[in-house]
Symmetry: C2
Subunit: 339 residues, 2 copies
């Protein structure tokens, strides 16, 4: 029920996914609304693998994150997360309020045991698809959390994008190892020493769009700035291009020839080309579809959730992090995590 | 002697500035090199207001910041900063190593009394010229420093860009006042309460390029990521555009019509359209010209330094910050600056 284009586009996309896959799908929302939209828009929801579940209310963009477990716990998001936690499903997909989805997932679905932080992991449409984690859930993190994020991202990019040794970059303000805050410097050392991590060192802002790494690890404050500035730069460049093309008759004509390419470029920078953002570190699969998702984007996010479940993403992450976590505890601490 | 295109382009630009202004200019470098280049390239340095000063060595991009006051203190940058501190000049302009210039300025030229942090203040080529401070000098700052930066930026944008009430935005990950780290939340309160600051609240990454503010205050870590990511996004978009225009004969033809506009767009995103970055909070004017500056950009940076001196920038900043600083000390502290 939540998302800029909900419920119509969500319903369309989900119905398409249900037609494509045999997996059981529960559409959580107001049943009357769903059935009347389906009838009106000619969307086939009479499939054996579709089950409608009645919820009450919607988390809006203005709601506080914790409303999902408090006054709006019967909303589509609140109910869906409880059902997921209760074992009534393996994955949950939402295009709604990111803060609420993360808070609800953490409190209701809970993190993998031994994993202190979960991350919102966005895939940025740079030269190569680049996973950025954290994208805003944790404004401050300690050095160990960078390591956890690197492991989670590596497993995800390997399983979902087929990259054998995904390159992990530490978001920083210079290439030298001594750059950045104390925490970032400590994170560098941990990443460099880690097994099963293909650490390529620090990545600067200018390296990111040009394909400097497959996974960029950062605190949620920095990550969120990166995510939204990329969007803002894209929007601004498109505006500037418009100005260039609207200058005179000749430039207007030339715009026609490249219209398709420019439209594609715009889409790439305004929505997520690579489906939704997985919330990594949780004990179940939760996918945050882009707020502006249309039916296609939402169907892709559902596909993505199926692929996550089928590839046992949560299990693999638990395995990697628990092993790593156990190892870190048995070694003398060499990092400054005070903050 | 430093900068990607030094010494030729620096010499050209400086000689042009000397021809344009009556201000005395000291060209600090290797005199033999300077005179031979001038002779070879037909650059007129025989003007009454040009004085050549012999230095030894150059700070390169690989040198550690502190080399400017240690093993390379006789370099053009080291000597220039000492001359500035000694009262032999009113302003210093360099296209060299930013870290060294900031460290040297802080240690040799020194900050205004009562100003605990100086900032590298870059002007970003967004929808409106946007001053970003800090751009990388101070990776972590306390809440009070955001306020200092806001004052310094406001004075600069008013004097140099003629904006009567420049809009100050706090770089953050959401529009709500409670967003961000404890320090950022405390900075919000200080900025909101400040007199003589036109505070427009939090600005997110997506607002920056689209003209959300005239001055964006941030810690140097965040600022540096913003600065370089903007550059990276610009470079990546240009690469994508090239691909769109090279697709077929028709698109190639259309490229010709907008060539000029695109070239301009590229320049705007790769170099600084608005001259160099002032180092604010120092007791003298220091301008960091872009590393890739050509003669024109370097001449503009010199112009900018003259305008700073003529408009008594340092004095105005000292006045605003000392008054503000004195006031802050006499009031009960309401912010969390522990870190």
């Amino acid at each position: 029920m939540s998302g800029d284009k909900a419920p119509l586009e969500m319903l369309k996309g989900a119905a398409e996914a249900a037609g494509e896959y045999e997996h059981e799908m529960m559409f959580i929302g107001d049943i009357d609304t769903i059935t009347s939209i389906a009838a009106h828009e000619n969307i086939n929801i009479n499939l054996p693998n579709i089950k409608l579940v009645q919820s009450n209310g919607v988390i809006t963009m203005d709601d506080m994150p914790l409303s999902v477990v408090r006054d709006k716990k019967e909303s589509s998001m609140g109910l869906g997360l409880r059902m997921l936690a209760d074992g009534q499903g393996d994955a949950f997909v939402s295009a709604g309020n990111t803060g609420a989805l993360h808070a609800g997932s953490t409190l209701v679905v809970r993190r993998i045991k031994g994993v202190p932080k979960s991350a919102i992991a966005t895939i940025l449409p740079y030269k190569n698809p680049t996973m950025l984690l954290d994208s805003g859930a944790n404004v401050e993190i300690d050095a160990n959390t960078y390591l956890h994020f690197a492991h989670m991202g590596s497993i995800y990019m390997k399983k979902m994008f087929g990259i054998e040794k995904p390159r992990v970059g530490l978001v920083n303000i210079g290439s030298e190892r001594a750059k950045g805050t104390k925490t970032v410097v400590a994170a560098y050392e941990l990443l460099e020493a880690a097994e099963n991590i293909n650490f390529v060192g620090n990545v600067e802002g200018k390296d990111l769009p040009l394909g400097g790494c497959d996974i960029a690890v950062a605190d949620g404050f920095t990550g969120n700035i990166i995510l939204k500035l990329t969007e803002g730069c894209g929007a601004y460049m498109m505006e500037k291009l418009k100005g260039i093309f609207y200058e005179n008759m000749l430039t207007k004509l030339s715009a026609a020839a490249v219209k398709k390419g420019l439209k594609k470029l715009k889409t790439e920078f305004t929505a997520s080309e690579y489906g939704g953002a997985p919330l990594l570190g949780l004990s179940k699969t939760v996918i945050k579809a882009h707020g502006g998702s249309d039916a296609l984007a939402f169907r892709n996010a559902i596909r993505q959730s199926i692929k996550c479940v089928d590839s046992r993403m949560v299990y693999e992450i638990a395995l990697a992090l628990n092993a790593d976590f156990a190892k870190a505890q048995s070694e003398p601490a060499n990092t400054d995590n005070t903050k």
